[in-house]
């Protein structure tokens, strides 16, 4: 069979201030009609650049240096921009990465879908509007007539991704390029959306080039997997072959660190029995303009012992992050009580709250935003010590160097600024900063969600190791059950502001009691392979 898409020796480079950087370095791959091919790799592997090069939607400083991209008898790498416009949207649909920012905020949903039809002369103004509703319906958007008149900000992330899928399939293209289509979504939403996308392409016979960092997602969805690293393809083959018998070292490493694919045993429950934190019937409401206040946290109770890790798991909007902020006194409790090491801190006065800050710290999700870009690494880690006037300059320097060792960063990084560090390095700096005051409790709010899987595994390992060394307790907030399994002693599952189930990690995974827990477990990608694969 003739391939639908045939990329040959593609080289794409980015102009930088020093020298051009080759992001894609001689990539050749093909997609047959109706086939789903997944391109897997970590950030910087060139997988997104490869996908975008197909329709020449590259960043301003990127350039296709050489190679060819054969699609339906034309070399897309060399056709003029004008003829490319008849391909984009019509023959090749693109599902972009981040649904939150990929729709024009000032245009109605229906208009944005209809625009594809109008641009390619597939419908006039009135028909386009009607057809847009039909397409939104096909993309699985509930109440498409009403939604078509709404603006993007009135829709949830999952619904926006459905709109973007509607835009991609509107003109019935032969190839759909999906660039991390569900990475920004909750795991249950991810499953529903990917199921639907798969169903749509099965119906229409379109091929899919699926770009993802998640091997588990790729293994669930793709016919073939292409593994990329540093701009090159290191391994390619049918999904089952790559997953069960990886040839290349890099693929093996990726497989080993993918949280959904490994059944890492949860650490044994440590019964120190010394109660550190106790939350009782916490309630937090947020006022909404012109409506009843929204209850983000609705009667949450849990406890945490010294040296223990409790995971709070739930989807976005479940109230897990707000709960974390309540116990740290970063937000005011509506009702209920928080007890920290025997003292009631629910309504602590500023001096007591300040004393609490010394013993309870926070690690944020986004290591790119939580470090002051003007601080050096040394300044960032030293800041908590300086704020609490601990030691003099020299002794603080010693402490900072010790902390850097602890999080396994080289001393040469001390004078660097966050922009010069990788995501994993930044999160290590954030961890070092959180540990600077030797706290009893660290609230980790999605600490690895923004990181590549292999880096994720390292950071999680580091957190476990630090807990063994220092006896710190973690309140670990995550939307990802698979990540939680690797380090939590106990898990509390949250939904709509309540804890629906709580238990020891192993019990919860093997014998979930609540329907919602079972739903969450079923949505973890890659479970079919990891549990049902013939060895």
């Amino acid at each position: 069979m003739v391939n639908l898409l045939e990329i040959r020796d593609l080289v794409v480079s980015y102009r930088t201030r020093s020298a051009p950087v080759r992001a894609v370095d001689g990539v050749s791959l093909s997609v047959a009609p109706g086939e789903i091919v997944a391109v897997v790799g970590e950030s910087g592997s060139g997988k997104s650049t490869t996908a975008h090069a197909v329709v020449r939607l590259l960043a301003g400083n990127a350039q296709i240096e050489s190679g060819s991209i054969q699609f339906e008898g034309a070399d897309l790498a060399h056709v003029p921009e004008r003829s490319l416009r008849t391909v984009r949207g019509a023959r090749i649909g693109l599902v972009p990465q981040d649904p939150a920012v990929s729709l024009n905020p000032v245009k109605r949903i229906g208009e944005q879908v209809a625009e594809v039809l109008r641009l390619h002369g597939l419908a006039d103004r009135r028909n386009a509007a009607l057809k847009a509703v039909e397409i939104l319906d096909r993309a699985g958007l509930p109440e498409p007539e009403g939604r078509a008149r709404q603006y993007p900000h009135e829709l949830s992330g999952g619904m926006r991704q459905r709109v973007l899928i509607a835009i991609a399939i509107a003109a019935d293209p032969r190839l759909i390029i999906a660039d991390e289509p569900t990475s920004a979504l909750d795991v249950t939403v991810q499953k529903v959306i990917l199921d639907h996308l798969q169903h749509l392409v099965a119906q229409s016979g379109a091929a899919v080039l699926l770009v993802t960092h998640d091997l588990a997602v790729a293994s669930d969805r793709a016919d073939r997997i292409v593994v990329m690293s540093q701009g090159r393809i290191v391994e390619t083959g049918p999904t089952a072959a790559v997953m069960n018998d990886p040839q290349h070292e890099y693929t093996k490493k990726l497989l080993a660190s993918a949280p959904g694919l490994t059944l890492a045993a949860a650490p044994p429950a440590k019964a120190t029995g010394k109660r550190l934190l106790e939350a009782r019937d916490l309630v937090k409401e947020f006022p909404l303009p012109g409506a009843a206040p929204r209850r983000a946290v609705d009667g949450v109770s849990f406890h945490l012992d010294r040296g223990e890790t409790l995971a709070l798991v739930g989807e976005s909007g479940s109230g897990k992050s707000t709960t974390g902020r309540l116990v740290l006194r970063l937000a005011d409790v509506g009702s209920g009580t928080v007890t920290f090491d025997g003292a009631d801190i629910t309504r602590s006065r500023p001096p007591a709250t300040r004393a609490l800050r010394r013993r309870a710290q926070l690690i944020y999700q986004n290591p790119y935003a939580s470090l002051d870009p003007r601080f050096t690494v040394a300044q960032a880690i030293e800041e908590p010590l300086r704020v609490f006037r601990i030691g003099d300059r020299a002794s603080r320097g010693v402490t900072v160097r010790g902390l850097l060792d602890r999080v396994a960063l080289p001393q040469t990084l001390l004078t660097r600024r966050p922009a010069e560090l990788s995501g994993g390095q930044r999160q290590r700096v954030a961890i070092a900063r959180a540990l600077a005051l030797s706290p009893d409790l660290v609230v980790c709010d999605e600490p690895v969600s923004a990181l590549d899987v292999s880096v994720q595994a390292q950071v999680l390992e580091l957190l476990v190791q630090l807990q063994e060394e220092t006896g710190v307790a973690y309140l670990f907030i995550s939307h990802d059950l698979a990540v939680v399994r690797q380090l939590a002693h106990r898990v509390a599952v949250m939904r709509h502001g309540r804890i629906v189930e709580t238990g020891f990690t192993a019990d919860l995974f093997t014998n979930p009691q609540h329907d919602y827990t079972r739903e969450l477990l079923a949505a973890i990608p890659g479970r079919i392979i990891s549990e049902g694969a013939p060895s």
Binding site: V87, G89, N104, V106, V116, L119, F286, P287, S321, A331
Partner: protein, 320 residues
């Protein structure tokens, strides 16, 4: 929505009151005496009969205690009476409403011109695919901002009136007389609009939804005009609202440079004769225009961007 408008109107009245009060006390505290100025007594001319000055002071109420003067004037101002000009004896409101149409015509045409020139320049600069052209176009706005208005006026007059005699250099004669002052006034305003709009367009064109539009198969012009412009126009609109104040201030200079009758001239002569009621009337009028324009800008926001809702602002903490 109505509540929002009412709140903004109350705020507007507050601003007007503050402008009135502040200008009143500043003018009272200034050294010098409007009555002596009116009686023709400069610092260097012969002294005027003190009894006559006293009578004049009494007539205009300048002999009363300052707080009483203030309340008195404020009471009259509330019913639309801003007092009489000390220099000419005519009611201030009459002076202003007579001069107003000329100035409104000048500022309105300058603002329109500024939008067209500034907007066009920003669009052309960001649309241009050639880095060289883009660079040249983008360096024009800073130039326009930094050159003084009166100098632009003088250069335009020199070239278009004296050397070529295409447009009259002075006076209020019809549309032809309007061209040079309007252009002069539009240059700095347009330059600032161009500056903000170009910057905003460049940022907007980097947004992911622009990528989505291109992936649909949209051409550059379509993406630029249909997707980027509306999103990018909000900051420019905010600036335009603020620029109106500056435009009015510049109008004073320009009307003097081009010897046009208008509010600028009224202000200039009132200031030089220390005609306190007139100066104050102009200040209140200026505040009024500024407040109205910015209220309009606020009302246009939600039309351009559906995410902005005209609701009473309460601290809404987004759940993370």
């Amino acid at each position: 929505m109505p509540r929002y408008v009412i709140r903004r109107l109350v705020q507007a009245v507050g601003v007007l009151w503050a402008a009135y009060t502040l200008s009143f006390f500043i003018l009272v505290l200034l050294p010098g005496d409007p009555v002596s100025a009116m009686a023709g007594a400069g610092a260097d001319s012969a002294p005027v009969d003190p009894a006559r000055l006293e009578a004049l002071r009494h007539e205009y109420g300048f002999d009363q205690p300052v707080p009483l003067q203030y309340l008195n004037h404020l009471g009259h101002a509330l019913i639309g009476d801003l007092g009489d000009s000390v220099a000419t004896g005519r009611p201030v409101t009459q002076l202003i409403t007579q001069a107003l149409p000329q100035t409104l015509l000048l500022t309105a045409s300058a603002l329109t011109l500024a939008f067209v020139l500034g907007g066009g320049l920003a669009l052309a600069a960001t649309f241009s695919a050639r880095p060289g052209v883009r660079q040249v176009l983008l360096s024009l706005p800073p130039l326009g901002v930094s050159v003084p208005t009166f100098w632009i006026g003088l250069m335009l007059v020199q070239f278009f009136s004296f050397r070529n005699q295409w447009f009259p250099a002075f006076g209020n004669d019809g549309l032809k007389g309007l061209v040079l002052p309007a252009v002069t006034l539009a240059v700095p305003t347009g330059a600032q609009i161009a500056l903000v709009l170009a910057k905003s367009l460049i940022t907007t064109l980097d947004e992911p939804y622009i990528g989505t539009a291109r992936a649909k198969g949209a051409g550059r012009r379509h993406v630029h005009l249909r997707h980027a412009l509306r999103n990018a126009s909000l900051p420019a609109l905010t600036v335009a609202g603020l620029l109106v104040g500056q435009l009015m201030a510049n109008a004073v200079v320009i009307e003097t440079v081009f010897s046009r009758n208008g509010l600028g001239r009224v202000t200039q002569s009132a200031v030089s004769t220390q005609d306190i009621p007139v100066v104050q009337g102009v200040v209140v009028y200026g505040a009024l225009v500024f407040v109205v324009v910015n209220l309009l800008v606020d009302l246009v926001y939600p039309v351009l961007d559906p995410r902005i809702v005209l609701a009473p602002r309460r601290p809404v903490v987004a759940a993370v």
